[in-house]
Amino acid sequence: MLTVIRWVFGITFWVLVGAVFHYTLPQVDIVRVTDTYEKRQDIGENAWFWAQADIGTDGTLANRDVFFIQTRRAKGDVMVYRNEDTGWSWPPYFKFDTSNLQAEAADARSTADAPQYYAVKHYGWRNEFFTIFPNAISLRPVEGPDASKGIPYLNIFILALFGAVVYGIWVRWRRFRMARIDPTLEAIEDDFAEKSGAVTRWLGTWRKK
């Protein structure tokens, strides 16, 4: 039973950690920009997945206009990106050039007849049930739909660093547990076994011989 609880807890924890990284780390899509638009957003319970108003503007208002970039991905499906400042808060992309990126995206539009492909760096998820969109970070032209996305050095570096920290903590914790906690637990168990033995023996004295 305890093992099951430990497994469920462990899997939940690591799935959450993985989700945070998958959401936050940059990814690249090869797309054809079909259009750009802006739309007023009344952000509600999906607020977690939206950034904030442009830096310097009033961020306390309930609703605001958000830029969007509509695309068709090289693999065929459509993808809509939001285009928002992340500013000084999480995730730490420090993006302030939302309007410039929107100008680039508007300039990058192309039709299916004369396609021009772009690599969009973005973070975040598209989810229709929560109305959330990945946030576009940058746009650069590529030769065609099969263009390479490049090796994600930053992601490799961050994940390796995270792995090293986790491993360091785990090793130290294990060493600490073996040195301090396990002997204590064993002592308690031994003590308990001894005590319960005494109780059984005492109860035994009441039984008929």
Binding site: G56, S89, Y93, F94, K95, F96, D97, I137
Partner: protein, 88 residues
């Protein structure tokens, strides 16, 4: 602006915790190294004086000032990210 101030204040607090821990740790390491050196050496002065002198030299050393990198490195990283995201 509020976001910027919040980042700076929270970053400063977090990095100060790291800085204080690291400087105590570094000083403790230096102290134990000095003790070891005293045991291995000729022991011309008593141990506490030897360690004290060594630590005073450590206090003025570049090695100790390098711990200030705890503040400098994240600031440089942030500046680089801002440049790459917005201007590159």
């Amino acid at each position: 602006m509020i976001g910027f101030i919040r980042l700076v204040v929270m970053g400063f607090v977090a990095l100060t915790v790291v800085y204080v821990c690291l400087s105590f740790y570094s000083r403790a390491v230096r102290r134990s190294k000095l003790r070891k050196k005293w045991y291995d050496g000729k022991q011309l002065v008593d141990r506490d004086t030897f360690v004290q002198r060594g630590l005073e030299r450590y206090d003025g050393s570049i090695r100790r000032k390098l711990i200030l990198g705890v503040y400098v490195v994240p600031m440089v990283v942030v500046a680089v990210i801002i440049y790459l995201t917005n201007f590159a």
